[in-house]
Amino acid sequence: MNEGHKREIWAVGGGKGGIGKSLIVANMSIILAQRGKKVVLIDADLGGANLHTCLGIPQPKATLGDFLSRRVSRIEDTIVETGIPNLRLISGAQEILGAANPKHSQKVRLLRTIGSLNVDFILIDLGSGTSFNILDFFLVSDHGLLVVIPEPTSIENAYRFLKCSFLRKVGNLAAQYDVKEVFDAVLDPKSSRGIRTPFELFDEISKVDEKVVELLQKGMEGFKPKLILNQVRTDNDIRIGFSIRSACMKYLGIQMDYLGYIYYDDLVWQSIRKKRPLIIDYPHSLAAQGIRSTAESLLQ
């Protein structure tokens, strides 16, 4: 692999816990590895890491927590083999109380180091919630995948996750372009502007400075999260993905790609119970087919 080699980063989030993020990211990483790609899977769910269990391996001794607290100096020393050719794992923090909330400097160091790993793909499993740590991993990726299940709580959290990611990215851009003052003034809680959507945010900024809006809108053109609908049972469930995509475009002004859907499948919990990867033990199951098809959409 040469120095100019492009590492592709996929980050899987969703705002809510228990919606299948870890299952999807673990199985997608196996699919890529089976195709001969060198993959590192990172468990960035710092508060509740368990990707090792999805892959059927014991809890690794060294974790991201050790790297963050500098108990190990090189991130490579936290990488473990998974027993699956081409696939290695960096496990999330387990025992460090503070590791779930790394300092800014720790996070910058981590993101920089991850980007230098000598692999083809880096897949990141994000925890639930919308903390800055999670959003920053999502935003640093080449493909930010948003997992949603067709249930009210999951959909509600997914929109929150999207809005927070959008706002975080606009804020970062504003700082980068040195127009943070305008951004902060518009979002000042005392101003009572009651901004609900990115459209409204840009409207308010344009009242202060139209050129800043143009700049920020251009910078946001690359913000295109990808939706994966998990645990679908009916055709109506599948259509919810198209509805979410439409609402994102029409109401939020966010371009969302509906990447694919995965059927609810009893074999999923059977594989979890056995602590074995679904794609290996049940490669022809409905859920495995859905994950494979979704990963393929991303590779095209």
């Binding site: 509600e156 859905g290 098809s293």
Partner: protein, 206 residues
């Protein structure tokens, strides 16, 4: 990204300016579902008023685009105001009212052939996978297109066309796939589903 108030009717309805009438109907159905009172996808995101406002714009767009005459006038307006170039709009020749002398071409605008073609091309009441495949090929539709739009895994679509019942998933899923497949090809979805499932069940019988 443009705001709703700045979008043309095609963008509001999320269809291509070359969309067939069936595609417009389908898009409208989805929009009604998306912004309706009981919508799971939008209830937590927007207020009832927000949804009502969006839906009213969508209905306005639908009313214009679903009627051939008003759509034609609207297309001309888009071209005249340089909002769209003529090659991106359906061919004016393909609009049925422009060619009343050739009624069999009425539905051939857009990418798909008439829905009633199933019997003449595939034989009487033949809804086997192989017959469906033949129709699809005659309509010039690639299986990948169907997979992309319906989000059905292409492997399943291939298995359906191969009549490979043994590898197909449970009937409840197959029925759903068949309906979407048929709708895409503008075939009578219920008949296709029932016809195919009849063959499927016969083959599965011990």
């Amino acid at each position: 990204m443009k705001k709703l108030s700045q979008q043309n009717y095609y963008q509001i309805l999320e269809v291509d300016p070359k969309a067939t009438k069936t595609e417009i109907l389908r898009a409208f159905d989805l929009a009604e579902e998306t912004y309706g009172t009981d919508s799971l996808a939008t209830y937590s995101l927007m207020t009832q008023d927000d949804r009502r406002n969006i839906l009213s714009k969508i209905r306005e767009a639908y009313q214009i685009l679903v009627d051939e005459e008003s759509r034609k006038l609207y297309d001309q307006y888009l071209i005249k105001t340089s909002q769209i170039t003529p090659e991106k709009i359906r061919s004016i020749q393909a609009v049925p009212r422009q060619a009343p002398a050739i009624p069999q071409e009425k539905e051939t605008q857009g990418p798909l052939a008439p829905a009633g073609a199933i019997t003449s091309m595939a034989g009487e009441e033949n809804y086997s996978g192989k017959a469906l495949k033949k129709i699809r090929e005659q309509k010039g539709v690639d299986l990948k297109q169907i997979a992309q739009v319906t989000k059905i895994n292409i492997t399943y679509l291939k298995l359906i066309e191969e009549d490979n019942y043994a590898l197909l998933p449970a009937p409840v899923y197959v029925k759903g796939f068949l309906v979407q497949y048929a709708q895409y090809l503008e075939l009578p979805a219920e008949k296709v589903r029932e016809g195919y499932m009849k063959l499927y069940n016969q083959a599965k019988m011990p």
